[in-house]
């Protein structure tokens, strides 16, 4: 027996009703006395459609129909005279859309050009805005200052932006300013983000617990440091940068409280900083921040001042001091107050305050960054200009082709203003479409920019920038305004002639010169910009080529290096030696690796520092590197001993200290004489002990590892005579494929200890290219933009040649009838192209001359007017322009007078 049906009776289905918003909008645009009729009719049709096609499609139909009705009522309702202008403008808009649709190629070229130009401008100017204009996105950055100390010495004024630690507590205790400190040890710190995982190198900045408060910054996740956590010997805590958090923890919001390992210590993560904050120095955006007092625990090795001389006032000898000016106090007043304190810790120095936003880019790089930004800004401005010019050219051609139509309209009573407005609306439409398309283009370009560095080693990828909406809006406005201007110009040129002039031109033998002038000027401008951009890309390319040729004799494209720091994995020097011996043994039979040697940095001295040479002080002209090498290093590098001898097994610990020097250092030591036997004092001796002396026993050719040090001073020491270290740079030569050799070494390292993660293996060439970041950046940007400009110029030359050939057909026919040969006629037409390109090139040389000062700073062993580059680009432009002019020239030269007359 069936159970009684307990379900409630089904409710009758509610009839579908039209979209309420559409109904409401419609009701607003029709007369009240017709509203019920119109909406009732539409509702009736809607219901029929619901039954026939379904509710969704019927709703879509209702939206479309109500929009059509709204438009129709608005368009066809008679209105007073003063309102008719709006209707006319809407009509113009519709006609403009139709006209653009009839010439899809020209329309697409115009829109694509504008999209590229606006996108490039938005991406580049966003970058400039973030780096130069808003480097410090914190509360009231103009009130933040860096405290520097100026000392008067016998060698002049010396300004220090880092200070001995005791100055920090002394100033803080004086209580005249809201103060915080930060420091960096410079070196990368090995961090294991997962327990038992291998370490990766991370950039660490040490900050006092009150720094975020002074900056007015809140962590986006977690909290800041507590005062108790910024003490010596307490458990370590860390704040992560947003970029590190996303890269290493996948943006996990549960990261607070997790533990990382640095060397053999745990670090607890307490928070994540906002994405916009990139640290206080753009050259080294940190991955993580540790308390200032943690510096001794994290970086005892190499932190000379922390463990040695300044042990009494550790944590760190060197700190930057950051302060926020109190309200109502100017920087000058605060300077006076600080100097009035007469602190002993200032050691006789005078305080001066620097704008913190300015110091975000180190002084040494600031001029370079500014100049490079200017170069980039000008480049995209040129592209914007060429984009507008191209659109203007196309509009002009269209307007001229409609000259007869315009003349007729004028004769029938249309005003010139109305016709010009029609042309301008076409320009507005093109510009608007280009602006919309520019949004994705700018995003793609901006992502592409991340691969590059600014001068001073400012890595755009590490800065993790984003596109600035205000900049995008500004670029769009600039482009739209300039296109509208060009459209108005095109309208004016196109409408200059009256009816009789337009009709006369159809039978005139030769077009008037004025008719050609405007187009010629536009195409010449395109050619000029093209020359500048493509030449710029060529100059950068040649600079890169020169850089790669620096170590040509070493075949540096197959020479790879990578760092393996085993102290991060808890190895001591003895265990590390076993590891490195095992690595060599594993790779010896591997055919991908031809040779392998070890080295590691023993330290370096900056230029101007005195060394003891044969007992006498000698000032170094530039920085000097001290490198520990094993017995196979020089052979792996391909460095033959050009004077003296190589290291031998006898150069062991306890034996007399020996060194091999680079050719440049040999010249510093002995001039043109023999450097062998000269003695240099060891600078890395233990504190309190007399320095040992090192005898120079050999000379090897220079290895250029930095493009700005073409005479590198290097002192190579045998590893056997050094304190044992768990760190090595493995240098190896690929037998064939570089990637295979790098993979073999990485695999061998993992085979011995899977927890060890070596740094990426890179060739010497790629290291040099990395330093040429601005040049690569410039080549990529100018190359891409130059290619677009070249395309547009060729297009412009072709359009001009085609239209001129068409306009001069009758003239050519008459000349042919009077005895001119085809060759003469072709030459006549091609001469136009030559004149045009010649004018453009002359303009381009002028522009290049104006920009030479800006680009010169970024060229490496190349002059701004390199004849090879400029000549090649000029020839390329001429050849391409002539090639596209050949077809119309040949076609026009073949015409005969009878045909032309018959056509007329």
């Amino acid at each position: 027996m069936n159970a009684p049906d307990s379900r409630p009776p089904a409710r009758p289905a509610r009839p579908s009703r039209p979209p309420r918003v559409a109904e409401w909008l419609l009701a607003r645009h029709i007369r009240p006395d017709e509203g019920a009729m119109v909406r009732g009719d539409l509702c009736e049709a809607f219901r029929r459609r619901v039954d026939g096609t379904g509710r969704g499609r019927a709703r879509a139909w209702y939206w479309i129909e109500s929009a059509r009705l709204t438009w129709g009522f608005w368009r066809w309702t008679p209105r007073p005279r003063w309102q008719r202008g709006t209707v006319m403008a809407m009509d113009d808009l519709r006609y403009a859309v139709r006209r653009l649709g009839r010439q899809p190629l020209a329309t697409m070229v115009s829109i694509a050009t504008l999209a590229c130009a606006i996108g490039a401008a938005a991406a580049t100017w966003s970058l400039i805005s973030a780096v130069l204009l808003h480097p410090l996105p914190v509360r009231a950055p103009d009130r933040l200052v860096e405290l520097d100390l100026r000392y008067e010495t016998s060698r002049g004024t010396n300004t220090l932006d880092v200070h001995l630690y005791p100055l920090y507590p002394a100033l803080r205790d004086a209580g005249v300013i809201d103060l915080a400190g930060w420091g960096s040890v410079g070196a990368l710190v090995p961090i294991a983000t997962q327990p038992g995982d291998g370490a990766r190198d991370a950039r660490v900045t040490f900050i006092s617990h009150d720094l975020l408060g002074v900056l007015g910054l809140q962590p986006s996740l977690g909290r800041s440091f507590a005062a108790a956590e910024d003490q010596r010997g307490v458990p370590l805590v860390a704040l992560l940068s947003d970029r590190f958090w996303r890269a290493e923890f996948g943006g996990d919001r549960g990261v607070v409280g997790r533990v990382m390992r640095v060397r053999d210590r745990d670090i607890v993560i307490v928070g994540v900083l906002p994405r916009e904050f990139r640290g206080l120095s753009l050259t080294a955006p940190p991955d993580l921040y540790l308390p200032l007092h943690a510096i001794d625990q994290v970086q005892p090795v190499g932190n000379y001042f922390a463990s040695g001389v300044a042990a009494g006032f550790s944590p760190s000898a060197w700190v930057h001091l950051v302060a926020r000016l109190p309200d109502g106090v100017s920087a000058a007043q605060m300077t006076d107050r600080l100097n009035g304190l007469a602190l002993d810790a200032a050691r006789g120095g005078t305080f001066q305050l620097a704008d913190l936003a300015t110091t975000a880019i180190p002084e040494a790089s600031r001029a370079g960054v500014e100049a490079f930004s200017r170069l980039l800004g000008l480049t995209v401005a040129l592209l914007l200009a060429i984009g507008s010019v191209t659109v203007g050219l196309l509009l002009l051609v269209r307007t001229e082709s409609r000259a007869g139509e315009f003349a007729m309209c004028l004769a029938l009573g249309a005003t010139r203003l109305r016709l010009a407005a029609g042309v301008a609306i076409e320009g507005v439409l093109l510009a608007a479409a280009g602006a919309v398309l520019a949004l994705p283009v700018s995003q793609v370009l901006f992502d592409g920019l991340r691969a590059f560095d600014l001068p001073g080693g400012i890595s755009l990828d590490r800065l993790d920038l984003a596109i600035d909406g205000r900049v995008v809006a500004a670029a769009m406005t600039a482009a739209v305004a300039s296109v509208v201007l060009m459209a108005v110009v095109a309208g004016v040129f196109g409408l200059r002639r009256g009816l009789s002039d337009a009709l006369r031109s159809q039978t005139a033998a030769t077009p008037r010169v004025t008719r050609r002038r405007s187009r010629t000027a536009l195409v010449a401008a395109q050619v000029a910009v093209t020359l500048v951009l493509v030449s710029g890309a060529g100059l950068f390319a040649r600079s890169l080529g020169r850089a790669l040729a620096l170590n040509e004799a070493l075949h540096s494209d197959r020479l790879l290096m990578g760092a393996i720091y085993l102290d991060a994995n808890g190895y001591d020097a003895t265990r590390a030696q076993v590891f490195f011996d095992a690595l060599r043994a594993r790779l010896a039979p591997n055919p991908a690796v031809a040779a392998l040697g070890y080295s590691y940095s023993l330290g370096s001295m900056s230029g101007g520092y005195p060394i003891q040479l044969d007992g006498q002080p000698r000032e170094l002209p530039s920085a000097m590197a001290f490198v520990g090498i094993d017995d196979r290093y020089l052979r792996t590098m391909g460095l033959p001993v050009s004077a003296g001898r190589d290291f031998t097994p006898d150069d062991r610990a306890g034996a007399p200290l020996v060194a091999i020097v680079s050719a440049s250092l040999a010249r510093v030591v002995a001039g043109d004489g023999d450097p062998i036997g000269h003695r240099i004092a060891e600078i890395f001796s233990r504190p309190g002990e007399p320095p040992d002396t090192i005898e120079i026993v050999g000379v090897v050719p220079d290895v250029i590892t930095r493009v700005n040090r073409l005479e590198p001073l290097a002192l190579y020491r045998p590893i056997a005579q050094q304190r044992p270290s768990p760190r090595r740079v493995v240098t190896f030569r690929a037998a064939g494929d570089v990637g295979a050799a790098a993979a073999a070494v990485t695999e061998a390292v993992r085979g011995i200890d899977p927890a060890v993660r070596p740094s990426p293996m890179t060739t010497l060439d790629s290291q040099l290219l990395d330093q040429m970041g601005p040049q690569r950046f410039g080549m990529a940007v100018m190359g891409a933009l130059g290619a677009i400009a070249l395309l547009l110029s060729v297009l412009g030359a072709w359009v001009l040649a085609e239209t001129m050939a068409a306009l001069r057909r009758r003239e050519m026919g008459i000349r042919a009838a009077l005895g001119a040969t085809g060759g003469h006629l072709r030459t006549l037409l091609l001469a136009d192209t030559f004149r045009l390109v010649g004018l453009g090139l002359a303009l381009g040389f002028g522009l290049s001359w104006l920009g030479a000062g800006t680009i010169r700073a970024f060229l490496f062993q190349v002059e701004p007017f390199d004849p090879v580059v400029t000549g090649t680009v000029s020839v390329l432009i001429v050849v391409l322009a002539v090639l596209v002019s050949l077809r119309p020239a040949f076609a026009a030269a073949r015409v005969d007078l009878a045909t032309v007359l018959r056509e007329d």
């Binding site: 009839p15 009703r17 039209p18 029709i30 007369r31 017709e34 019920a36 009729m37 119109v38 909406r39 009732g40 009719d41 509702c43 009736e44 049709a45 219901r47 129909e65 059509r68 009705l69 438009w71 129709g72 009522f73 368009r75 066809w76 309702t77």
Partner: protein
């Protein structure tokens, strides 16, 4: 001669009403025009034509019953006024006179 010129859509609306036996409402008028001309006509154009024809006194209208299919809104029925019929007749006669002798010419024109 017609007293005032008729636009295309106005002309079509008047003829459609003739076919619909002198009185009908807007949806039926639009369907009739579409069926006879073979192409759709813009709804807004028909509504404006109805409005103008009524203003000219060529049509008169009355409000009918409200129905659920129309969302509770009433239909508005239009019928030809005697002036409308006269106007239509005058226009037709003018066209017939104009076409006299020209029909063969237009038939010879390739489509």
């Amino acid at each position: 001669m017609p007293r005032a010129a008729l636009g295309d859509v106005e002309h079509f609306v008047l003829i459609a009403l003739l076919h619909l036996e002198g009185e009908s409402y807007s949806v039926a008028i639009m369907d009739e025009i579409r069926r006879r001309t073979g192409r759709p006509v813009a709804k807004a154009a028909v509504y404006i034509a109805l409005r103008r024809l009524e203003e000219k006194g060529l049509l008169a209208s009355r409000v009918g019953e409200a129905t659920p299919e129309r969302g509770g809104r009433a239909k508005r029925y239009f019928r030809l006024t005697p002036a409308g019929r006269r106007q239509l007749r005058d226009v037709r006669e003018a066209f017939v006179r104009m076409w006299a002798g020209a029909e063969d010419l237009v038939r010879k024109t390739p489509r």
